[in-house]
């Protein structure tokens, strides 16, 4: 099976602080990969390294076997929903998606924008200004933007944060559908039950270091907590 994401000793320093410390992991094509860690563990920094937003100080990261993360080709096949909700408040939903569709060079931008609005359940709000959107609607439009270029790999950083249970369920179902269709999902969150429910394999990061990796069963064996929940495993691994 081809590798969708691969890192080798990936390191990022902010001053003397190692935000990411010698991170080596691999995500296969089609996996629903969970990336767990407490606040400040380095999850967002890792995603930024993997999506080419920041450069590593040491090590390397590749997308789709051999594409450097900051290459144009990597950006064309990756979709990213970052944690920061930077949206253009003055744009309407459809304008926002059209703008990004153009930036990605999507073949039929209008069709793509309308389609993605429908997928995230915002068809009725297409002419509404983003500035008037609720928190949940902002998450949805952000996800729609991440999907606008029909990505092969989807990086999600806290995608359901702030959503109500219905909203969370809708997003989760959508992601499951996408994964079934072959999209590799790199899912970063600190919501353990969500990760446990969705992800086939999980990596746990703490203080920038990878401290565990595998399926839930493998993690249970690693920690000796055979019958315990992911929460207990996480707490033991991170010592929180």
């Amino acid at each position: 099976m081809k590798t969708a994401v691969k890192t080798e000793n990936l390191t990022k320093l902010y001053g003397k602080t190692k935000a990411v410390d010698c991170l080596s992991l691999e995500v296969k094509n089609g996996e629903f990969f969970g990336f767990l860690g407490p606040n400040g563990a380095g999850k967002t920094t890792t995603i930024r390294l993997l999506t080419g937003i920041i450069r590593p100080d040491k090590g390397k990261a590749m997308i789709n076997e051999n594409l450097p993360t900051n290459s144009i080709e990597a950006k064309l096949i990756a979709g990213v929903m970052p944690e920061s909700q930077g949206l253009y408040e003055w744009m309407t939903a459809i304008e926002y998606l059209l703008f990004f569709a153009h930036l990605y060079g999507v073949h039929d931008p209008i069709k793509a924008a309308v389609e993605k609005l429908a997928i995230v359940g915002l068809s009725n709000e297409k002419n509404k200004r983003i500035g008037a959107f609720s928190r949940g609607m902002r998450q949805r439009i952000s996800l729609a933007r991440a999907l606008i270029n029909e990505p092969k790999i989807l990086f999600l950083d806290e995608p359901t944060l702030g959503l109500d249970p219905k909203g969370q369920e809708d997003i989760q179902n959508l992601l499951k559908t996408l994964n079934t269709e072959g999209v590799t999902i790199f899912y970063s969150s600190h919501l353990l039950n969500e990760v446990a429910q969705l992800c086939s394999r999980i990596a746990v990061i703490h203080h920038g270091k990878l401290i565990a990796q595998g399926t839930i069963t493998q993690l249970q064996e690693q920690t000796g907590l055979t019958n315990d929940s992911l929460k207990d495993i996480f707490l033991k691994l991170t010592g929180e």
């Binding site: 902010y14 064309l76 970052p82 930077g86 990004f100």
Partner: protein
């Protein structure tokens, strides 16, 4: 790809009233000064050429101020509103990003220039200087505005803060504009003369004086003033490139 950035910026200016309010204020300034110059006040007794020169300085000075405010914000707003990350996740290159922003900011100057044309025509009526006025304000104004924009973009990439960029840019603007308004009697010593030669704003004003007051319309007669402005643009461009290089090295998000 830069055209999408350009179009989006222009739409933002139009739909958010940001630039349109500036245009309205600019037009009000031009209306007030042109009316004042032409009606029954002491100013109306100036020679027409002196009046044209003053008005050309007002047009360029107003544009410089507005562009300084706009350019200080246009790049930093993307970082401060956290929209830069989503932009650079796309295949958009830094070059296209900067080019789009630069052209959008330049479009602001072009709009101010177009607004000033009816005033230029009215004030220069009968002087046979209308065409020269229009052409030279466009040429010199575009050069100095472009230079300022590139300089401010360079500062933006270094500071990544609209407040700091605006403060620094305004100080630089004042430092260049104020000496340019001094009369020639205050520029008699060698230091003042040297500063006058390297000051791009001073050179723009002097060239306009040369054209409008002394009737020296030929480009060759104004090369002495145009060359320092071009050098300033080149220096600003180099500074902007250097800042972008530093920006790329530190990353689009330079803090976690």
């Amino acid at each position: 790809m830069f055209k999408y950035i350009l179009v989006t910026e222009l739409q933002a200016s139009l739909y958010t009233w940001k630039s349109t309010v500036w245009f309205l204020i600019t037009s009000a300034i031009f209306s007030f000064t042109s009316y004042l110059f032409l009606t029954d006040k002491e100013l109306s007794l100036l020679d027409q050429t002196e009046m044209l020169w003053l008005i050309s300085k007002i047009i360029i000075g107003t544009a410089l101020l507005i562009i300084t405010v706009d350019a200080s914000n246009t790049i930093n707003a993307e970082f401060e509103k956290e929209t830069a990350e989503s932009l650079f996740l796309t295949p958009l290159t830094t070059k296209d990003f900067v080019l789009g922003k630069l052209l959008a900011s330049l479009a602001l100057w072009i709009a101010i220039y177009l607004i000033s044309i009816p005033y230029i025509i009215v004030v220069s009526a009968g002087s046979h200087l209308t065409f020269a006025f229009v052409i030279y304000v466009l040429m010199l104004g575009t050069m100095i505005i472009l230079g300022f924009q590139m300089m401010i973009f360079g500062i933006s990439f270094l500071f990544r803060s609209s407040k700091n960029t605006l403060t620094t840019s305004l100080i630089i603007l004042l430092a260049l504009v104020i000496p340019a308004t001094f009369s020639s009697t205050l520029k008699n010593n060698s230091l003042s003369h040297f500063l006058s030669v390297i000051n791009p704003v001073d050179n723009v004003f002097s060239s306009l004086d040369n054209v409008l007051v002394d009737y020296k319309i030929a480009i060759s007669s104004n090369l002495l003033y145009i060359i320092p402005v071009l050098i300033f643009c080149l220096a600003a461009f180099t500074f902007m490139l250097y800042s972008i290089k530093l920006f790329k090295r530190s990353g689009i998000v330079n803090k976690d």
